[in-house]
Symmetry: C2
DNA sequence: ATTTATATGTCGACT
DNA sequence: AGTCGACGTATAAAT
Protein backbone atom coordinates (compact mmCIF):
# COMPACT_ATOMS: atom_id res chain seq x y z
CA UNK A 1 0.00 0.00 0.00
CA UNK A 2 1.50 3.31 -1.01
CA UNK A 3 -1.12 5.63 0.40
CA UNK A 4 -2.30 6.19 3.95
CA UNK A 5 -5.33 8.30 4.58
CA UNK A 6 -7.36 9.31 7.61
CA UNK A 7 -10.72 11.03 7.71
CA UNK A 8 -11.58 13.44 10.54
CA UNK A 9 -8.70 12.29 12.73
CA UNK A 10 -8.13 13.59 16.21
CA UNK A 11 -5.28 16.08 16.44
CA UNK A 12 -3.13 13.43 18.06
CA UNK A 13 -3.92 10.87 15.36
CA UNK A 14 -3.09 13.46 12.74
CA UNK A 15 0.22 14.11 14.47
CA UNK A 16 1.16 10.42 14.40
CA UNK A 17 0.29 10.12 10.73
CA UNK A 18 2.28 13.24 9.91
CA UNK A 19 5.36 12.06 11.79
CA UNK A 20 5.20 8.69 10.04
CA UNK A 21 4.79 10.39 6.67
CA UNK A 22 7.80 12.67 7.31
CA UNK A 23 9.78 9.59 8.31
CA UNK A 24 8.84 7.75 5.10
CA UNK A 25 9.46 10.79 2.90
CA UNK A 26 5.85 10.93 1.71
CA UNK A 27 4.05 13.63 -0.16
CA UNK A 28 1.37 14.87 2.27
CA UNK A 29 -1.91 16.73 1.87
CA UNK A 30 -4.02 18.03 4.76
CA UNK A 31 -7.51 19.45 4.41
CA UNK A 32 -8.68 21.43 7.37
CA UNK A 33 -9.67 24.64 9.08
CA UNK A 34 -6.61 26.59 10.14
CA UNK A 35 -4.86 29.89 10.70
CA UNK A 36 -1.54 30.62 9.01
CA UNK A 37 1.25 32.95 9.98
CA UNK A 38 4.50 33.61 8.17
CA UNK A 39 7.57 35.54 9.13
CA UNK A 40 10.72 35.93 7.09
CA UNK A 41 11.46 38.03 4.01
CA UNK A 42 8.08 39.58 4.74
CA UNK A 43 5.43 38.76 7.33
CA UNK A 44 1.78 37.82 7.05
CA UNK A 45 -1.22 36.59 8.97
CA UNK A 46 -4.20 34.69 7.71
CA UNK A 47 -7.36 34.21 9.78
CA UNK A 48 -9.28 30.98 10.25
CA UNK A 49 -10.54 29.25 7.12
CA UNK A 50 -10.65 25.95 5.23
CA UNK A 51 -7.47 25.27 3.29
CA UNK A 52 -5.29 22.62 1.75
CA UNK A 53 -1.81 22.19 3.16
CA UNK A 54 0.72 20.30 1.02
CA UNK A 55 3.99 19.13 2.55
CA UNK A 56 6.72 17.74 0.31
CA UNK A 57 9.62 15.50 1.33
CA UNK A 58 12.08 18.05 -0.15
CA UNK A 59 10.93 20.58 2.45
CA UNK A 60 8.49 22.59 0.35
CA UNK A 61 5.23 23.61 2.03
CA UNK A 62 2.17 25.07 0.29
CA UNK A 63 -1.04 26.51 1.73
CA UNK A 64 -3.77 26.68 -0.88
CA UNK A 65 -7.20 28.31 -0.69
CA UNK A 66 -10.00 27.74 -3.21
CA UNK A 67 -8.61 30.46 -5.48
CA UNK A 68 -5.53 31.21 -7.50
CA UNK A 69 -2.62 29.42 -9.06
CA UNK A 70 -0.36 30.61 -6.27
CA UNK A 71 -0.42 29.30 -2.72
CA UNK A 72 -1.61 31.94 -0.26
CA UNK A 73 1.40 31.05 1.92
CA UNK A 74 4.34 28.77 1.36
CA UNK A 75 7.85 27.73 2.27
CA UNK A 76 10.51 26.90 -0.35
CA UNK A 77 12.22 23.49 -0.74
CA UNK A 78 14.98 22.93 1.77
CA UNK A 79 12.83 23.85 4.74
CA UNK A 80 12.19 21.49 7.63
CA UNK A 81 8.73 20.35 8.62
CA UNK A 82 7.78 19.84 12.25
CA UNK A 83 4.44 18.74 13.61
CA UNK A 84 3.23 19.03 17.19
CA UNK A 85 0.06 19.26 19.23
CA UNK A 86 -0.14 22.51 21.15
CA UNK A 87 -3.12 23.49 23.29
CA UNK A 88 -4.92 20.44 21.94
CA UNK A 89 -4.53 21.48 18.30
CA UNK A 90 -2.31 20.26 15.50
CA UNK A 91 0.44 22.72 14.65
CA UNK A 92 2.63 22.27 11.57
CA UNK A 93 5.69 24.47 11.32
CA UNK A 94 8.11 24.73 8.44
CA UNK A 95 11.38 26.60 8.95
CA UNK A 96 14.50 27.39 7.00
CA UNK A 97 17.56 29.55 7.36
CA UNK A 98 19.32 31.91 4.94
CA UNK A 99 17.10 33.71 5.03
CA UNK A 100 15.44 32.80 8.32
CA UNK A 101 11.83 32.07 7.60
CA UNK A 102 9.04 30.35 9.49
CA UNK A 103 5.63 29.23 8.33
CA UNK A 104 3.18 28.14 11.01
CA UNK A 105 -0.16 26.45 10.31
CA UNK A 106 -2.48 25.93 13.29
CA UNK A 107 -5.43 23.62 12.70
CA UNK A 108 -8.67 23.87 14.62
CA UNK A 109 -10.08 20.94 12.60
CA UNK A 110 -8.37 18.35 10.46
CA UNK A 111 -10.85 16.96 7.95
CA UNK A 112 -8.66 14.73 5.85
CA UNK A 113 -5.02 13.78 5.84
CA UNK A 114 -3.39 11.73 3.10
CA UNK A 115 0.21 10.70 2.51
CA UNK A 116 1.64 9.00 -0.55
CA UNK A 117 5.04 7.48 -1.27
CA UNK A 118 6.04 9.07 -4.56
CA UNK A 119 8.24 7.34 -7.10
CA UNK A 120 10.03 8.82 -10.10
CA UNK A 121 8.37 10.48 -13.05
CA UNK A 122 10.03 13.86 -12.96
CA UNK A 123 11.18 13.75 -16.58
CA UNK A 124 9.36 16.73 -18.04
CA UNK A 125 10.05 17.58 -21.66
CA UNK A 126 9.10 21.14 -22.52
CA UNK A 127 8.83 22.56 -26.03
CA UNK A 128 8.44 26.12 -27.29
CA UNK A 129 11.11 27.73 -25.10
CA UNK A 130 13.85 30.23 -25.99
CA UNK A 131 16.08 27.18 -26.51
CA UNK A 132 13.73 26.05 -29.30
CA UNK A 133 13.86 29.49 -30.87
CA UNK A 134 17.64 29.35 -31.00
CA UNK A 135 17.60 25.86 -32.50
CA UNK A 136 15.17 27.04 -35.13
CA UNK A 137 17.39 29.97 -36.10
CA UNK A 138 20.57 27.91 -36.25
CA UNK A 139 18.83 25.46 -38.58
CA UNK A 140 17.35 28.19 -40.77
CA UNK A 141 19.41 31.40 -40.45
CA UNK A 142 17.48 32.95 -43.35
CA UNK A 143 14.54 33.33 -40.96
CA UNK A 144 16.52 36.19 -39.41
CA UNK A 145 17.33 37.64 -42.81
CA UNK A 146 18.71 36.41 -46.13
CA UNK A 147 22.47 35.99 -45.94
CA UNK A 148 22.67 35.88 -42.16
CA UNK A 149 25.34 33.52 -40.85
CA UNK A 150 25.38 32.49 -37.19
CA UNK A 151 28.93 32.25 -35.86
CA UNK A 152 28.51 31.58 -32.14
CA UNK A 153 25.89 31.08 -29.44
CA UNK A 154 26.27 32.34 -25.89
CA UNK A 155 29.21 34.42 -27.12
CA UNK A 156 30.83 36.05 -24.08
CA UNK A 157 31.08 39.83 -23.77
CA UNK A 158 31.69 42.34 -21.01
CA UNK A 159 27.91 42.71 -20.80
CA UNK A 160 27.36 38.96 -20.49
CA UNK A 161 26.78 36.22 -23.06
CA UNK A 162 24.79 37.19 -26.16
CA UNK A 163 22.18 34.74 -27.44
CA UNK A 164 23.44 34.49 -31.02
CA UNK A 165 26.37 36.24 -32.68
CA UNK A 166 26.88 36.23 -36.44
CA UNK A 167 27.46 38.30 -39.58
CA UNK A 168 25.05 39.58 -42.21
CA UNK A 169 25.33 39.39 -46.01
CA UNK A 170 27.73 42.38 -45.97
CA UNK A 171 29.95 40.80 -43.36
CA UNK A 172 28.80 43.23 -40.65
CA UNK A 173 28.72 41.75 -37.14
CA UNK A 174 25.21 41.11 -35.84
CA UNK A 175 24.09 40.61 -32.25
CA UNK A 176 20.82 38.67 -32.03
CA UNK A 177 18.70 38.74 -28.88
CA UNK A 178 16.04 36.04 -28.62
CA UNK A 179 12.76 36.30 -26.78
CA UNK A 180 10.15 33.60 -26.84
CA UNK A 181 7.24 35.98 -26.49
CA UNK A 182 6.10 39.58 -26.87
CA UNK A 183 8.67 41.87 -25.31
CA UNK A 184 8.80 45.24 -23.56
CA UNK A 185 11.55 47.90 -23.49
CA UNK A 186 13.79 45.95 -21.12
CA UNK A 187 14.73 43.55 -23.92
CA UNK A 188 15.88 46.46 -26.08
CA UNK A 189 18.07 47.64 -23.22
CA UNK A 190 19.60 44.21 -22.94
CA UNK A 191 20.34 44.09 -26.68
CA UNK A 192 21.82 47.60 -26.54
CA UNK A 193 24.25 46.54 -23.81
CA UNK A 194 25.55 43.66 -25.89
CA UNK A 195 25.93 45.83 -28.98
CA UNK A 196 27.75 48.53 -27.04
CA UNK A 197 30.04 45.95 -25.45
CA UNK A 198 30.87 44.47 -28.85
CA UNK A 199 31.55 47.88 -30.39
CA UNK A 200 33.98 48.66 -27.60
CA UNK A 201 35.62 45.27 -27.95
CA UNK A 202 36.02 45.77 -31.71
CA UNK A 203 38.02 48.89 -31.10
CA UNK A 204 35.78 51.94 -31.22
CA UNK A 205 36.12 54.61 -28.57
CA UNK A 206 32.73 55.18 -27.07
CA UNK A 207 31.05 58.33 -28.25
CA UNK A 208 33.63 59.23 -30.90
CA UNK A 209 30.95 58.85 -33.54
CA UNK A 210 33.10 56.37 -35.41
CA UNK A 211 32.33 53.23 -33.45
CA UNK A 212 32.58 50.07 -35.53
CA UNK A 213 29.44 48.94 -37.31
CA UNK A 214 27.61 46.36 -35.19
CA UNK A 215 23.98 45.62 -35.83
CA UNK A 216 21.41 44.60 -33.25
CA UNK A 217 18.50 42.32 -34.08
CA UNK A 218 15.70 41.48 -31.70
CA UNK A 219 13.95 38.23 -32.57
CA UNK A 220 10.57 37.96 -30.85
CA UNK A 221 6.98 37.24 -31.85
CA UNK A 222 6.06 40.91 -31.32
CA UNK A 223 6.92 44.15 -29.48
CA UNK A 224 5.10 46.61 -27.25
CA UNK A 225 4.82 50.15 -28.63
CA UNK A 226 7.41 51.50 -26.27
CA UNK A 227 9.82 48.72 -27.14
CA UNK A 228 9.37 49.50 -30.85
CA UNK A 229 10.17 53.18 -30.20
CA UNK A 230 13.37 52.34 -28.36
CA UNK A 231 14.40 49.84 -31.00
CA UNK A 232 13.99 52.56 -33.64
CA UNK A 233 15.97 55.10 -31.54
CA UNK A 234 18.86 52.67 -31.38
CA UNK A 235 18.66 51.74 -35.06
CA UNK A 236 18.08 48.07 -34.31
CA UNK A 237 15.89 45.66 -36.24
CA UNK A 238 13.02 43.44 -35.25
CA UNK A 239 12.35 40.01 -36.72
CA UNK A 240 8.92 38.55 -35.99
CA UNK A 241 9.39 34.89 -35.18
CA UNK A 242 7.80 32.32 -32.87
CA UNK A 243 9.73 29.61 -31.01
CA UNK A 244 7.61 27.00 -32.77
CA UNK A 245 6.66 26.92 -36.46
CA UNK A 246 3.02 27.90 -37.02
CA UNK A 247 0.74 24.93 -37.51
CA UNK B 1 -20.12 16.84 6.42
CA UNK B 2 -17.90 19.15 4.44
CA UNK B 3 -15.42 16.60 3.14
CA UNK B 4 -15.88 13.59 0.92
CA UNK B 5 -13.03 11.20 0.43
CA UNK B 6 -12.52 7.90 -1.34
CA UNK B 7 -9.60 5.50 -1.09
CA UNK B 8 -8.50 3.45 -4.10
CA UNK B 9 -11.70 4.11 -6.03
CA UNK B 10 -12.42 2.58 -9.41
CA UNK B 11 -12.00 4.99 -12.28
CA UNK B 12 -15.74 5.21 -12.61
CA UNK B 13 -16.22 5.91 -8.88
CA UNK B 14 -13.56 8.58 -9.11
CA UNK B 15 -15.39 10.13 -12.04
CA UNK B 16 -18.63 10.34 -10.09
CA UNK B 17 -16.92 11.94 -7.11
CA UNK B 18 -15.16 14.45 -9.34
CA UNK B 19 -18.34 15.45 -11.13
CA UNK B 20 -20.13 15.91 -7.81
CA UNK B 21 -17.24 17.94 -6.47
CA UNK B 22 -17.21 20.21 -9.56
CA UNK B 23 -20.96 20.63 -9.12
CA UNK B 24 -20.57 21.65 -5.47
CA UNK B 25 -17.62 23.94 -6.19
CA UNK B 26 -15.27 21.95 -3.96
CA UNK B 27 -11.53 22.13 -3.66
CA UNK B 28 -10.29 18.74 -4.92
CA UNK B 29 -7.10 16.78 -4.45
CA UNK B 30 -6.27 13.56 -6.29
CA UNK B 31 -3.33 11.30 -5.49
CA UNK B 32 -2.46 8.82 -8.20
CA UNK B 33 -0.22 7.50 -10.91
CA UNK B 34 -0.67 9.48 -14.09
CA UNK B 35 0.78 10.96 -17.25
CA UNK B 36 0.42 14.67 -17.98
CA UNK B 37 0.43 16.54 -21.24
CA UNK B 38 0.12 20.24 -21.84
CA UNK B 39 -0.31 22.27 -24.98
CA UNK B 40 -0.71 26.03 -25.22
CA UNK B 41 1.84 28.82 -24.81
CA UNK B 42 4.39 26.01 -24.91
CA UNK B 43 3.96 22.22 -24.94
CA UNK B 44 5.15 19.51 -22.60
CA UNK B 45 4.85 15.84 -21.82
CA UNK B 46 5.36 14.07 -18.54
CA UNK B 47 5.68 10.29 -18.31
CA UNK B 48 3.95 8.04 -15.81
CA UNK B 49 4.55 8.76 -12.13
CA UNK B 50 2.85 9.37 -8.78
CA UNK B 51 1.59 12.89 -8.40
CA UNK B 52 -0.86 15.15 -6.63
CA UNK B 53 -3.50 16.88 -8.74
CA UNK B 54 -5.29 19.87 -7.19
CA UNK B 55 -8.42 21.23 -8.85
CA UNK B 56 -9.89 24.51 -7.63
CA UNK B 57 -13.42 25.77 -8.14
CA UNK B 58 -12.07 28.96 -9.77
CA UNK B 59 -10.64 26.85 -12.58
CA UNK B 60 -7.04 26.58 -11.44
CA UNK B 61 -5.37 23.18 -11.80
CA UNK B 62 -2.04 22.15 -10.29
CA UNK B 63 0.04 19.01 -10.81
CA UNK B 64 2.60 18.55 -8.06
CA UNK B 65 5.42 16.03 -7.79
CA UNK B 66 7.39 15.35 -4.60
CA UNK B 67 9.76 18.22 -5.35
CA UNK B 68 9.69 21.95 -5.80
CA UNK B 69 7.58 24.91 -4.81
CA UNK B 70 6.20 25.13 -8.33
CA UNK B 71 3.74 22.69 -9.86
CA UNK B 72 5.31 20.63 -12.65
CA UNK B 73 2.27 21.48 -14.77
CA UNK B 74 -0.72 23.70 -14.20
CA UNK B 75 -3.61 25.65 -15.60
CA UNK B 76 -4.42 29.21 -14.50
CA UNK B 77 -7.70 30.27 -12.82
CA UNK B 78 -10.54 30.71 -15.28
CA UNK B 79 -10.02 27.35 -16.90
CA UNK B 80 -12.71 24.69 -17.09
CA UNK B 81 -12.32 21.26 -15.59
CA UNK B 82 -13.74 18.18 -17.28
CA UNK B 83 -13.52 14.60 -16.12
CA UNK B 84 -14.20 11.48 -18.15
CA UNK B 85 -13.33 7.81 -18.33
CA UNK B 86 -11.52 6.95 -21.55
CA UNK B 87 -10.23 3.48 -22.32
CA UNK B 88 -11.10 2.49 -18.78
CA UNK B 89 -8.97 5.22 -17.20
CA UNK B 90 -9.83 8.49 -15.49
CA UNK B 91 -8.94 11.47 -17.61
CA UNK B 92 -9.08 15.02 -16.20
CA UNK B 93 -8.79 17.82 -18.68
CA UNK B 94 -8.56 21.55 -17.94
CA UNK B 95 -8.95 24.00 -20.81
CA UNK B 96 -9.03 27.73 -21.29
CA UNK B 97 -9.03 30.18 -24.15
CA UNK B 98 -7.05 33.39 -24.76
CA UNK B 99 -4.61 31.89 -25.05
CA UNK B 100 -5.90 28.44 -25.96
CA UNK B 101 -4.40 26.01 -23.52
CA UNK B 102 -5.15 22.44 -22.55
CA UNK B 103 -3.86 20.38 -19.66
CA UNK B 104 -4.63 16.66 -19.71
CA UNK B 105 -4.00 14.29 -16.81
CA UNK B 106 -4.51 10.58 -17.47
CA UNK B 107 -4.60 8.34 -14.41
CA UNK B 108 -3.62 4.69 -14.50
CA UNK B 109 -4.34 4.45 -10.77
CA UNK B 110 -6.28 6.71 -8.43
CA UNK B 111 -5.07 6.17 -4.88
CA UNK B 112 -6.99 8.83 -3.02
CA UNK B 113 -9.50 11.46 -3.95
CA UNK B 114 -10.72 14.13 -1.52
CA UNK B 115 -13.03 17.08 -1.99
CA UNK B 116 -13.76 19.85 0.49
CA UNK B 117 -16.26 22.68 0.50
CA UNK B 118 -14.12 25.72 1.26
CA UNK B 119 -15.47 28.74 3.05
CA UNK B 120 -14.02 32.22 3.36
CA UNK B 121 -10.72 33.04 5.01
CA UNK B 122 -8.94 34.76 2.14
CA UNK B 123 -8.10 37.90 4.12
CA UNK B 124 -4.32 37.83 4.05
CA UNK B 125 -2.53 40.74 5.65
CA UNK B 126 1.02 41.09 4.40
CA UNK B 127 3.73 43.26 5.92
CA UNK B 128 7.15 44.23 4.67
CA UNK B 129 6.09 45.09 1.13
CA UNK B 130 7.02 48.10 -0.99
CA UNK B 131 3.81 49.67 0.28
CA UNK B 132 5.23 49.51 3.82
CA UNK B 133 8.46 51.09 2.66
CA UNK B 134 6.53 54.03 1.19
CA UNK B 135 4.50 54.46 4.35
CA UNK B 136 7.68 54.45 6.37
CA UNK B 137 9.25 57.18 4.25
CA UNK B 138 6.18 59.38 4.24
CA UNK B 139 6.10 59.21 8.03
CA UNK B 140 9.82 59.88 8.39
CA UNK B 141 11.14 61.71 5.29
CA UNK B 142 14.47 62.33 7.04
CA UNK B 143 15.21 58.63 6.51
CA UNK B 144 15.81 59.54 2.88
CA UNK B 145 17.93 62.54 3.85
CA UNK B 146 17.68 65.54 6.16
CA UNK B 147 15.44 68.19 4.66
CA UNK B 148 13.71 65.90 2.19
CA UNK B 149 10.04 66.78 1.66
CA UNK B 150 7.73 64.31 -0.09
CA UNK B 151 5.26 66.11 -2.36
CA UNK B 152 3.41 63.33 -4.16
CA UNK B 153 3.21 59.54 -4.46
CA UNK B 154 2.51 57.75 -7.73
CA UNK B 155 3.18 61.05 -9.49
CA UNK B 156 2.38 60.54 -13.19
CA UNK B 157 5.02 61.07 -15.86
CA UNK B 158 5.50 60.10 -19.47
CA UNK B 159 7.54 57.15 -18.21
CA UNK B 160 4.80 56.05 -15.81
CA UNK B 161 4.08 56.85 -12.19
CA UNK B 162 7.07 57.46 -9.93
CA UNK B 163 6.98 55.97 -6.44
CA UNK B 164 7.66 59.18 -4.51
CA UNK B 165 8.27 62.68 -5.79
CA UNK B 166 9.57 65.49 -3.56
CA UNK B 167 12.16 68.21 -3.07
CA UNK B 168 15.42 68.28 -1.14
CA UNK B 169 16.68 70.90 1.33
CA UNK B 170 17.80 73.11 -1.60
CA UNK B 171 14.40 72.86 -3.27
CA UNK B 172 15.72 70.61 -6.04
CA UNK B 173 13.18 68.10 -7.36
CA UNK B 174 13.87 64.51 -6.28
CA UNK B 175 12.55 61.30 -7.81
CA UNK B 176 12.57 58.42 -5.33
CA UNK B 177 12.35 54.82 -6.50
CA UNK B 178 11.49 52.24 -3.83
CA UNK B 179 12.52 48.61 -3.78
CA UNK B 180 11.74 46.26 -0.92
CA UNK B 181 14.90 44.23 -1.35
CA UNK B 182 18.40 44.13 -2.86
CA UNK B 183 18.22 45.39 -6.44
CA UNK B 184 20.02 44.85 -9.73
CA UNK B 185 20.67 47.24 -12.64
CA UNK B 186 17.07 47.16 -13.90
CA UNK B 187 15.93 49.32 -11.00
CA UNK B 188 18.50 51.98 -11.93
CA UNK B 189 17.15 51.98 -15.47
CA UNK B 190 13.64 52.45 -14.16
CA UNK B 191 14.72 55.39 -11.98
CA UNK B 192 16.64 56.90 -14.92
CA UNK B 193 13.52 56.82 -17.07
CA UNK B 194 11.52 58.74 -14.49
CA UNK B 195 14.29 61.33 -14.00
CA UNK B 196 14.67 61.84 -17.75
CA UNK B 197 10.91 62.19 -18.16
CA UNK B 198 10.77 64.77 -15.39
CA UNK B 199 13.72 66.75 -16.82
CA UNK B 200 11.98 66.91 -20.17
CA UNK B 201 8.72 67.91 -18.55
CA UNK B 202 10.46 70.70 -16.62
CA UNK B 203 11.64 72.22 -19.86
CA UNK B 204 15.14 71.05 -20.70
CA UNK B 205 15.97 69.96 -24.22
CA UNK B 206 17.47 66.53 -24.06
CA UNK B 207 21.21 66.46 -24.52
CA UNK B 208 21.75 70.22 -24.44
CA UNK B 209 23.82 69.77 -21.31
CA UNK B 210 21.63 72.26 -19.49
CA UNK B 211 18.76 70.03 -18.51
CA UNK B 212 17.05 71.13 -15.31
CA UNK B 213 18.42 69.75 -12.07
CA UNK B 214 16.46 66.67 -11.05
CA UNK B 215 17.94 64.21 -8.58
CA UNK B 216 17.34 60.47 -8.52
CA UNK B 217 17.35 58.48 -5.29
CA UNK B 218 17.10 54.71 -5.09
CA UNK B 219 15.83 53.50 -1.73
CA UNK B 220 16.58 49.81 -1.21
CA UNK B 221 18.20 47.60 1.43
CA UNK B 222 21.25 47.12 -0.82
CA UNK B 223 22.55 47.07 -4.40
CA UNK B 224 24.43 44.64 -6.60
CA UNK B 225 27.84 45.82 -7.83
CA UNK B 226 26.59 46.43 -11.33
CA UNK B 227 23.65 48.41 -10.03
CA UNK B 228 25.99 50.55 -7.94
CA UNK B 229 28.14 51.26 -11.03
CA UNK B 230 25.18 52.36 -13.06
CA UNK B 231 23.84 54.46 -10.24
CA UNK B 232 27.21 56.24 -10.04
CA UNK B 233 27.31 56.75 -13.84
CA UNK B 234 23.95 58.49 -13.67
CA UNK B 235 24.89 60.53 -10.64
CA UNK B 236 22.06 59.13 -8.55
CA UNK B 237 22.08 58.36 -4.85
CA UNK B 238 21.39 55.24 -2.84
CA UNK B 239 19.70 55.19 0.55
CA UNK B 240 19.95 51.90 2.46
CA UNK B 241 16.57 51.24 4.03
CA UNK B 242 14.43 48.19 4.79
CA UNK B 243 10.65 48.07 4.43
CA UNK B 244 10.40 47.23 8.12
CA UNK B 245 12.31 48.83 10.99
CA UNK B 246 15.02 46.56 12.41
CA UNK B 247 14.08 44.75 15.59
C1' DA C 1 -7.93 43.50 -23.75
C1' DT C 2 -3.24 45.27 -23.36
C1' DT C 3 0.56 47.33 -20.82
C1' DT C 4 3.24 47.99 -16.65
C1' DA C 5 5.38 47.02 -12.30
C1' DT C 6 5.59 43.90 -8.28
C1' DA C 7 6.52 39.35 -6.03
C1' DT C 8 8.08 36.13 0.57
C1' DG C 9 8.32 35.54 -6.94
C1' DT C 10 10.88 30.50 -8.19
C1' DC C 11 14.47 28.24 -10.65
C1' DG C 12 18.67 27.17 -12.95
C1' DA C 13 23.36 28.42 -14.38
C1' DC C 14 27.49 30.41 -13.66
C1' DT C 15 31.19 32.77 -10.91
C1' DA D 1 27.15 32.20 -1.38
C1' DG D 2 25.94 35.93 -4.69
C1' DT D 3 24.58 37.51 -9.36
C1' DC D 4 21.98 37.21 -13.56
C1' DG D 5 18.35 36.14 -16.69
C1' DA D 6 14.27 33.18 -17.97
C1' DC D 7 9.64 31.62 -16.78
C1' DG D 8 3.77 28.28 -20.03
C1' DT D 9 6.22 33.01 -14.69
C1' DA D 10 1.38 34.83 -11.67
C1' DT D 11 -0.97 38.94 -10.10
C1' DA D 12 -2.93 43.43 -9.57
C1' DA D 13 -3.55 48.07 -11.17
C1' DA D 14 -4.08 51.25 -14.71
C1' DT D 15 -5.13 52.46 -19.51
Amino acid sequence: MTVTSVHDPSHREALWELEDAFERGDLVSVFGRCTVSYEGRAASDLGAGDRLLVLKPDGAALVHTDEGRQPVNWQPPGSEHHAAVREGRLRVRSTRSNPDETLTVRFSDVHQLSAMAVTGGRDLTLHGSEEDLRTRILERPDLVEPGFEPRETERPSSAGPMDVFGVDAEGTPVVVELKRRRVGPDAVGQLARYVRALREELGGEEGDGASPAVRGVLVAPSLTDRAAERLAERGFDHVALDPTPEE
